[in-house]
């Protein structure tokens, strides 16, 4: 299959999650929704369930306003809106971590707003590296497993988890390889996003199979030329209108530090005797993320290092409106970029955005700076 056809397949999955949900349900599978930013998907998968991402959508907010004040990010607002409106009907449960204040509120509101889909909390420790932190991570996993069994009847086994970990580690590797190949391949920002977005709506083994072929096709295909190379950072970068602006202005995403994209695939589950211990170790090993305690602000250095490693001309910060963790990180990122001689652009994004004219002007002006 040619690269174009593979991308079309992923575009189809990325743009029609409902169809994917119905497909899995028709196959007799049970689906578990997973909220941003990290959830133990390997565990869910190992219990024979299909984890599907819930990152909201570019829809109008009506019903969720009864639960959230206006200053909660639109990812939470629209996820709840879709839940209330029945878009997730058929899903057996939703796992919501409490990694930011708005996520804590999403879980609490979910219980009353979407009563037909049980809320399963995943409580991660911020002090995740010491042994006591890992132990607490495992207590969080035990809670998720128990709640999943209650919600779906599915059983957990360490043997099955070990197998799922292999599936996920392979997917991670393939996605990391894709990110590297896409840095130079002739692929649009929109198509690049389709590859990441579709992963949230497909079983990892299915997604791996397609992306593997895509990687081969991209490697053999033409390279991008004459583009402005940028590293994109933020929570989400899936707005078709915004990605179109990138593509129309010759802005090429050569790497990302986006929570919805590469942040998911950086860290593998290590090879350890006990797979649950290994899962807790994976969480302990994770970093360079605004939602994970980072006293040395390693994320900031990581962005600069990756921008340089990928020969980026500049950094584009896609700031999800009302995401205070990201807003706190912005100032150190801005300063580090300036110190490293990297130009940067900060575009505020929102799932409620209708008019992208201002963003287009900003991107055009940014391009002219080079």
């Amino acid at each position: 299959m040619k690269g174009k056809e593979l991308l079309a397949q992923l575009h189809e999955a990325a743009s029609s999650p409902k169809k994917q949900l119905e497909k899995y349900l028709a196959q007799g599978k049970k689906v578990v929704a997973v909220a941003p930013v990290y959830t133990p998907n390997e565990i869910i998968h190992s219990m024979g369930l299909v984890p599907m991402g819930v990152w909201g959508a570019d829809v109008e907010i009506n019903e969720a306003k009864k639960y959230f004040p206006a200053f909660i990010c639109s990812i939470m607002q629209t996820a709840l809106e879709l839940g209330i409106k029945g878009e997730y009907d058929g899903v057996s449960a939703i796992v919501i971590p409490s990694l930011c204040d708005s996520l804590k509120c999403l879980g609490q509101n979910w219980k009353y707003a979407v009563k037909n889909i049980p809320f399963i909390p995943m409580t991660y420790p911020q002090n995740r590296k010491p042994d006591y932190g890992k132990k607490f991570t495992k207590a969080g996993y035990a809670r998720v497993i128990s709640d999943l069994t209650i919600a779906t009847g599915a059983q957990f086994s360490e043997f099955a988890l070990a197998e799922s970990i292999k599936v996920y580690n392979e997917h991670n590797a393939v996605m990391r390889e894709f990110a590297e190949i896409a840095a130079d391949a002739d692929i649009t920002a929109a198509a690049r996003n389709d590859v990441f977005k579709s992963a949230w709506f497909m079983l990892p083994e299915e997604h791996t199979a397609i992306v593997k072929k895509l990687n081969e096709a991209l490697k053999a295909g033409p390279k991008a030329k004459g583009k402005l190379r940028v590293l994109v950072t933020g929570i989400l970068a899936d707005s078709p209108s915004l990605l179109k602006i990138f593509d129309e202005n010759g802005v090429k995403v050569v790497f990302d530090d986006v929570a919805h994209e590469s942040r998911q695939y950086r860290t593998d589950v290590p090879d350890m005797e006990n797979p649950v211990d290994a899962m807790a170790q994976k969480f302990a090993d994770m970093g360079n993320c605004t939602l994970l305690y980072d006293p040395d602000k390693n994320r900031v250095d990581y962005i600069v290092e990756q921008a340089k490693a990928h020969k980026a001309d500049g950094v584009i910060v896609l700031m999800t409106k009302f995401c205070d963790p990201e807003e706190f990180d912005y100032v150190p990122i801005k300063r580090a970029c300036a110190a490293a001689g990297l130009k940067h652009l900060n575009i505020e994004v929102d799932r409620q955005m209708v008019n992208y004219q201002q963003a287009a002007t900003m991107v055009q002006a940014f391009k002219e700076m080079f």
Partner: protein
């Protein structure tokens, strides 16, 4: 020009609770200043960080949230927020954090100075925003950050796993602080601090519960000021003494039929949320002028840190507002409403606090239903004066009052 006539205020009674509490709050800053001058290492501390730890170690700490509230109440909130926004911080970020980040840069504020820190003591049991705020200051000032993670509890009770996790972090924090400051933890001193904290907590709970009387012997806005001592100094003998004085005054007030609420108490409400410090007078007057007394807030319950041992202390710090699930948070408020004969709930939808406001619409609906009382909200901010509209506040309070009046049968 007419000669200015200044009303001379009577000298404060040094034996009054107000004086004692004011002294403790002021002394916390001056003591830290002096310690810094002596060359001692001082910390900036999150408001719900276990104060027992620095108190037992004999460390001087300052509270940026308390400072930010003070700066905002004295009119400096917007100026300080502008400094942070000028540096690139979004105006969506908590205004306490914006003020604090500005102070970390300017190192002075005429409204309330405090010494610069040598270490940061963070605890996220009130919000995860604290983590990012303290991370940035620690990095900017190149000082160590000690982080006690008390995760939001999705369950009603604190689990053994959580208690164990918190306990391990407490000891980790103690050992880190011993290393940083050279001070030593002793169990004897901890016992003393635990007793002081228990004494202050019991008196505080008892004092605030005097609102069970109708009319209440105090104006609930008093609590917003007095609680500063419970936040910052409850591990001291002085705090216990001042809180017991407060309790005695409230009992005396009730017996004499007087109150610090200087108006006829026609209606009794619970106020939900942090005060609008820049608009304290306006928000207070808007209630008082209508005979509405704010008789209780969750703070009445929040600072009752009563426990018997180290494990109990760990659990107590997981049972603070903003760390509890909706049902537990709701039940605590329903209890306060019932015990204090509350007739209405006024909710501050606080632009600075996503966690406090993020599930408040649903929770306040449930409180209203459980207690059979009207619920009204207004938009405001704990420290940024730009996020409050006096007209909206007035309209909402008027509406609340009219429903409370109708419920009394007054509009029939």
């Amino acid at each position: 020009m007419a000669e200015e006539v200044k009303k001379s205020r009577p000298a404060p009674d040094p034996n009054s609770a107000k004086f004692k509490l004011g002294q403790i709050a002021a002394k916390a800053y001056s003591d830290a200043m002096e310690a810094k001058k002596r060359g001692e290492k001082i910390g900036w501390c999150a408001s719900n960080f276990p104060v027992e730890i620095p108190a037992t170690l004999g460390l001087y700490v300052c509270y940026p949230e308390n400072q930010a509230a003070g700066i905002a109440a004295r009119g400096g909130g917007e100026r300080m927020c502008n400094v942070s926004e000028g540096d690139g911080y979004s105006n969506d970020i908590c205004a306490y954090a914006r003020i604090s980040l500005a102070y970390a840069k300017l190192k002075e504020a005429p409204e309330q100075d405090m010494p610069m820190p040598d270490f940061m003591l963070c605890c996220n049991n009130i919000c995860n925003c604290m983590i990012k705020w303290y991370e940035n200051i620690a990095k900017e000032l190149n000082i160590p950050m000690i982080m006690i993670d008390i995760p939001f509890n999705p369950d009603y009770e604190v689990s053994d796993a959580e208690t164990e996790y918190i306990k391990a972090q407490f000891w980790d924090a103690i050992h880190q602080l011993e290393e940083i400051t050279g001070k030593k933890w002793t169990d004897e001193q901890f016992k003393k601090v635990m007793e002081y904290s228990g004494r202050a907590s019991r008196a505080w709970i008892e004092a605030t519960s005097q609102a069970k009387y109708v009319p209440s012997p105090f104006n609930g806005f008093d609590l917003l000021n007095h609680m500063a001592v419970m936040v910052t100094a409850r591990g001291t003998a002085q705090a216990g003494d001042a809180m017991e004085t407060l309790l005695k005054e409230y009992i005396d007030n009730h017996e004499k039929g007087v109150s610090t609420f200087r108006a006829e108490e026609k209606y009794r409400i619970m106020f939900e949320g942090i005060a609008c410090w820049p608009w304290l007078r306006v928000t207070s007057t808007g209630l008082k002028s209508r005979g509405i007394n704010m008789v209780t807030t969750i703070y009445a319950d929040a600072f009752g840190f009563i426990y018997d041992d180290f494990d109990g202390m760990c659990r107590a710090y997981a049972n603070v507002p903003n760390c509890m699930n909706l049902e537990h948070s709701r039940d605590k408020r329903v209890k306060l409403c019932r015990e204090n004969h509350v007739e209405g709930l006024l909710v501050h939808t606080n632009r600075s606090c996503k966690l406090w406001s993020g599930f408040m619409p649903e929770m306040s609906r449930q409180i209203g239903e459980a207690c059979g009382i009207p619920v009204t909200s207004f938009d405001g901010d704990q420290a940024d004066p730009r996020n409050f509209s006096e007209a909206q506040y007035d309209t909402r309070v008027q509406g609340l009052m009219e429903i409370m009046e109708a419920n009394k049968g007054g509009n029939e």
